[in-house]
Amino acid sequence: MDNPFDLSSDIAWCPGCGNFAILKALKSTLSELNYEPHEVVLVSGIGQAAKIPHYLRVNVFNGLHGRSIPVAFAVKSANPRLVVIAESGDGCMYGEGGNHFVHAIRRNPDITVIVHNNQVYGLTKGQASPTSEEGFVSKVQTLGSLSAPFNPLSIAIAQDASFVARGFAGDIEKLKEILKQAITWPGFALVDVLQPCVTFNRVNTYTWYRERAYYLDVQYDPEDRVKAFEKSLEWGEKIPLGIFYRHRKPTYQEKFYALVSYPHLLYRERAVEEVLDRELQYFQ
């Protein structure tokens, strides 16, 4: 069966890059969820990862570096029937876009945020990203990075994000499963995907991840916030993958649309004269 999300394009990624696996997983996920391309909006920023929307058949808003989340929030709010995904790199989402990441969680919009976390700035040629390990050396971090890494899962859990997961580009099948749950989850869903960058990250390679990664087992209870937090701190010898935390609560869109009697924010015929007459009474 043809995947309706397939698009033939000149893909600008390096051969062997983890991004290919994420693209593949995403396309399969969307198609297996029986969405149609025109129902889906993919919002991205700038970076290597952020080019992904150009490689599949969907609606695309490829905006500014760091700013995909506010756009995604608004698209979903304006037209809640759309399936909205914000997808970009770790620099884009957690660096330049850090403030939006943190505050969007507070709103709990019904969007999925997929982060290609290669622990490096790929497109700008290898500087440390927020998730790079302390000591990471690059042409800018000549003394080694002096900063501790940003832990996206801990921060998301600290903000009580509705759905928090980690995937690995080295395992497409499991990634698909996680993506399926994330995209169908009603509320803010974060999927941080460990994505080897074969060109600039010589530390966190496929092998490095493979040696450490394991999946949370069935006993693990993703509803316990403190446990989830504790789990999210595990990084180094062992790196857990899977769904860390889940907390179903009303989404922003559910709350807003319960309060107003319109189903969306799209064009409405409004008789100007009538509205004017009604409104002018407040200025009398």
């Binding site: 394009s9 391309p37 025109h38 129902e39 909006v41 919002v43 700038i46 080019k51 929307p53 150009h54 058949r57 969907v58 609606n59 695309v60 808003f61 490829n62 905006g63 500014l64 700013r67 506010p70 756009v71 995604a72 929030f73 608004a74 698209v75 709010s77 304006a78 037209n79 029937r81 759309l82 403030n99 939006h100 943190v102 505050h103 807003f256 309060l259 107003v260 009697s261 319109y262 924010l265 799209l266 064009y267 409405r268 409004r270 100007v272 004269e273 509205v275 004017l276 409104e279 002018l280 200025f283 009398q284």
Partner: protein
């Protein structure tokens, strides 16, 4: 003819704005035209704040320097403003011991608070003041009492009654004093029906234009627009989102617009700075958006609660590389309603950003109108329901491509990178050239779109201005006429692209003087640059306060006398 000015001053938190608002409405309901001006500091309590209300039995559009009645909610007000009171005027309220002998106006010392406490609570002090000033102004007591009952209706009968008692006590304390002596109070044939300020008007314009999405971060003087739309959120299904910062605000608005909502954002200079990258995104993705920038003095944080017109050059050139945009600046609340509607129409027609330059003076000044007229049609080119092979940036002779929104059959692909006709990222430099020319091409039609300035050529001198100074130019013109000087007015509310045909107008002007709330004379520079006509004289003010009629008049006379 009645034409009087009341200034009410006090510390922030004392209720200056409440008293002023009640008075303005009562004056309007009594048949007077009103123009009110707010002056406040960037603090919540203490310091000094005042509202100045001019009322007359014909339309008024600006404030006067000379005051007929100074209402002092504290003695600092007396100290600061007593010298502005006209010889036949009154000073009412808390008297400053040092200044009382030197005061020009007739003094009616009332300790509003003490009176209120006598009536049971300090809280009634403002109503005592309203009582006193209503009597002095000869306003019909019944009308005021009815209005007070309306204002306090939610607080219950007891509160209403106590306020009415306070009101009566205030009136009583004034005794037989009257501001109007021989003067006939002659309400106009067509009394004003509405009273609204710039922010309310900007909000109303957006509402009428069908705006359903407003994202912003609070910032004086534009927060009022957000308040205005938020008060309608439930009724009209408008999403008003307070963003975490201005960057999120503009990106949200663009996302909403992309998805098919009519979206707007509003801010002031510092916040606009943060939106500059988003402005370029709007241009590159050709996503319609309306951005209100409420000007205040800078640079940087500057004077957050004062007025300014110093962002013109900035907004015209904001963001890297080049792209077409509209820049409008409403002349008063009535104009603001229409210009915002027009901003939405043009933003969608040309798929470009439209910047509306407001300022603190426009935002906070209330003007009374006999009628609020919406002349601007709400035009909304319906998005096309593209086919599968839809291309968002299809090349067309005008540079404007048919616009679809996501959710229909067409896939809508937009990109901040240079892109091909279908919106996909490209590094093909031939396509780049075509796309850049496509965007720039819109300029030609846009240039024909902007309207010529309000033009009334004067024999002796010609005042050129833009935005919120329209009213004071208008009033100054009348004032000058009284002195035998025939002044003209050339006033711009559509600034960019500069309308066509200006050179002929400007060349013909005798003694042009450009009047602006900035240091360098930005409109003057712009006009000289674009038309090559030397405009010579400038009158500028940059202390954060607006021009007042007498003052502007005197400065025009001075400049003109020299010339």
């Amino acid at each position: 003819m009645v034409d009087r000015t009341v200034k009410i001053g006090g510390a922030a938190g004392q209720g200056v704005q409440t008293v002023a608002e009640i008075l303005s409405v009562i004056l309007r309901r009594s048949g007077y035209y009103v123009f009110s001006l707010e002056d406040y500091q960037s603090r919540i309590r203490g310091g000094h704040t005042f509202t100045q209300i001019r009322f007359a039995n014909q339309p008024v559009h600006a404030a006067k320097k000379s005051i007929d009645l100074l209402v002092c909610l504290d003695s600092l007000t007396h100290e600061l403003h007593h010298s502005e009171v006209a010889p036949q005027g009154f000073i009412l309220g808390h008297v400053s011991p040092q200044e009382s002998s030197a005061s020009l106006g007739r003094l009616i010392a009332i300790d509003f608070e003490k009176e209120a406490v006598n009536l049971g609570d300090r809280i009634f002090a403002n109503t005592v003041a309203i009582g006193a000033l209503s009597r002095l102004l000869g306003l019909a007591p019944q009308r005021v009492e009815d209005y007070l009952a309306q204002v306090f209706s939610k607080k219950g009968q007891e509160v209403i009654e106590k306020n009415i008692a306070a009101f009566r006590r205030g009136a009583e304390l004034v005794g037989e004093n009257k501001l109007f002596g021989e003067e006939t109070i002659d309400p106009p044939e067509n009394p004003p029906r509405f009273l609204l300020d710039g922010n309310q008007a900007l909000g109303l314009g957006a509402l009428l234009a069908g705006c359903t999405f407003y994202s912003a971060y609070p910032m004086t003087p534009s927060t009022g627009i957000m308040n205005s739309l938020a008060s309608k959120a439930k009724e009209y299904g408008i999403l008003v989102e307070q963003a975490e910062d201005e960057i999120a605000a503009i990106n949200m608005a663009l996302g909403a617009s992309y998805a098919g909502a009519r979206a707007m954002t509003g801010t002031s200079g510092g916040g606009f700075c943060l939106m500059v990258e988003g402005l370029g995104l709007a241009a590159m993705t050709e996503t319609p958006i309306v951005i209100v920038n409420g000007q205040r003095p800078g640079p940087s944080t500057g004077l957050p609660t004062r007025t300014s017109q110093a962002d013109l050059h900035f907004v015209i050139h904001a963001s890297h590389d080049e792209f077409p945009r509209f820049v409008f600046a409403p002349r008063d609340p009535q104009d603001a309603i229409n210009l915002v509607i027009r901003a939405f129409s043009l933003a969608e027609q040309y798929q470009v950003p439209v910047i509306v330059l407001s300022d603190q003076y426009l935002a906070d000044s209330k003007v009374a109108y006999q009628d609020v007229v919406v002349t601007e049609p709400v035009k909304r080119p319906l998005p096309v329901d593209g086919q599968e092979e839809y291309c968002r940036y299809a090349l067309t002779p005008s540079g404007v491509s048919p616009r679809a929104i996501p959710g229909g059959k067409a896939l809508v692909v937009v990109d901040s990178d240079e892109h091909d006709e279908c919106g996909h990222l490209t590094e093909d430099l031939t396509i780049r050239v075509r796309m850049h020319e496509k965007r720039m091409k819109k300029w030609e039609a846009m240039k024909r779109e902007t309207r010529l300035p309000f033009t009334m050529v004067g024999r002796d001198v010609n005042l050129i201005g833009w935005g919120s100074t329209w009213g004071v130019l208008w009033e100054t013109r009348k004032e000058l006429a009284r002195k035998g000087i025939e002044a003209g007015i050339i006033h711009f509310n559509e600034l960019w692209p500069l309308p066509q045909g200006l050179r002929d107008i400007l060349r013909s002007l005798v003694s042009p003087i450009v009047v602006e709330h900035n240091y360098t004379g930005q409109l003057a520079e712009l006009l000289e640059q674009e038309t090559g006509v030397e405009l010579g004289e400038r009158i500028t003010r940059y202390d954060g306060r607006p021009f007042l009629i007498e003052e502007l008049c005197a400065r025009v006379e001075e400049v003109w006398g020299r010339g």
